[in-house]
């Protein structure tokens, strides 16, 4: 949905409708960062709670959805900095990689799981640039790194995915 339409949705329908429109996509994006649906939902809810508290300001922004993803990525970064959470996440990732709990029988998210196993920086760059379609400049502002670093990380993420999924660029079915 274009940014202008999202802004209009947010303004005309209010927070709840904005939540309903953005929440599923936010959870999926957070899944790419965390590799765990429970953690992804928790992050998405924590982000949306912050958005709710600032809704009067967010709703008049040029791109409320852009703000949401910025806030979510920042929250994810903040959580990763917390040692205990990091340890827990590593544990979850290990269990996840070993037991590979899929959403349903035969529904293994091979590509999404491969992305979730990338290093954090590459995952964030991939999520912002390849999944959300941001420019490297926009992603750089969010990640507080140079645009060139975003491009490098994104390139490395693509290369790693190709290696993990085969040389066809992950186009196996």
């Amino acid at each position: 949905m274009p940014a202008a339409a999202l802004r209009n949705v947010a303004e005309a329908l209010g927070f709840e409708a904005f939540f309903q429109a953005e929440y599923p996509g936010l959870v999926r994006a957070m899944y790419l960062l965390t590799g765990d649906q429970g953690e992804a939902e928790e992050l998405a809810q924590a982000t949306m709670a912050r958005v709710y508290e600032r809704w009067d300001r967010v709703r008049v922004m040029e791109s409320p959805a852009g703000y949401v993803y910025r806030a979510a990525v920042n929250l994810h970064r903040k959580r990763l900095r917390h040692l205990a959470v990091r340890a827990r996440r590593l544990l979850v990732m290990t269990v996840h990689a070993e037991s590979a709990q899929p959403p349903g029988p035969g529904d293994r998210l091979e590509l999404a799981d491969a992305i979730a196993s990338l290093p954090t920086g590459q995952r964030q760059a991939f999520m912002l640039v390849e999944w959300l379609g941001m420019s490297s400049e926009e992603a750089a502002r969010i990640l507080r790194i140079a645009p060139a670093s975003v491009r490098t990380r994104s390139h490395r993420a693509r290369a790693a995915l190709r290696k993990q999924l085969g040389d066809d660029g992950g186009n196996r079915e």
């Binding site: 329908l13 409708a17 999926r28 709710y52 693509r158 992950g170």
Partner: protein
Amino acid sequence: MNDVRERLHRELERIQPSPDGLDKTLRLVRLRERNRRGGAVAVGLLLLPGLALGLWLAVRSSPQLPAPPPAATSGPVAGPGEPRLFLAGAGELWVVDVAGASVRHRDLPQLSPGDPPYRIVRRGDTLVLWSYQTLTLDPSGTAAQPRTLVRDSWIFIPSAAPDRIWVGILDPNSPETERRLKAVREVAVDGRVTVGDVRPPEGRWPVAATSSALAFQSHGSGQGGDQLELWNPLTGEILRRLPGDYPVASHGDLLAWCRQPCARLHVTDVATGKEIQVRPPAGATAFAPYQGVFSPDGKLLAVPVRSDSAPTTQDPKWRLALVDVEEGTATLVQGPTLQGYVFVDWSPAGTTVFITGGYRFKERMIFAYRLGTAGVRRLPVKVGDFFGMAAA
């Protein structure tokens, strides 16, 4: 890489977030609010001994204490005839007695958290409140609890008739991302249905009501661009299309509206098409969409205007302005700039304008401007987080 993206889309589409995400988020909001208040209380308790010591030293050093600031936070509400402000929050309501500078807090669990177009308005001698249902409350305080006016409504907006509202009835088959309406209905505050259910164009939400039409936003990408469509609910005809993004206020058949960035206000008689345009007063750059309110006689429009010079600022600074609808002029009211939750309303007699400011979880401010006086005065009251204001 497009293949990867498409495959990723297909994979992630299979992740279905739990349906109680919104409830969990709102619970988290309330938990964070409680934690914040708890923290504030703890800080207050820590500071209390220091404050007591300071007070004792002040008393010792000066036999005459300075007059305490008038920070009344409780006390009797106003007597009959005096203006009162009703501030609707999530699950609570504050009643501010303007004359006595006192506040009464009421727990009203019926008031849901959320962000409706209108949360509280005065209609005739009754208050109408939003709670996914539509409620009414007697402002005189004789009825302790709100009464359900419309059970199946999703939103309401004020009607052009002073004692009525329009409610929107949700289409249960509409996707959650769209929330289209099955019908709009005009209802008087005594419960009479004055216009029966009729489906609005494409199930859209009305954003304003005039005597002869409901206004809908139409987001066009073609030649017309964004528009306000004036739709007659009795005939189903589009009366008029206005080249604007936002309504500002309505009264009778007058609709005040603007086009981004609202550097000019248009006031259109939607029945005749007669229109005036108003520039912001000196020192202001734009008008606030949605936030204007006409005086009860319709001659003046109270509306926040942007007082900062950078039109792209995401957290604008507002001041109160009065638009003389006949003259087509706007005058800035002397007073401080406001940010955050800015609400405006007139006293029922049309002699005083109230305007609020301040952020969630922070100090909320209420100012009153009595027509003909030099500027606004701040009401010395403390209230909690509210998201709508009505004077009654």
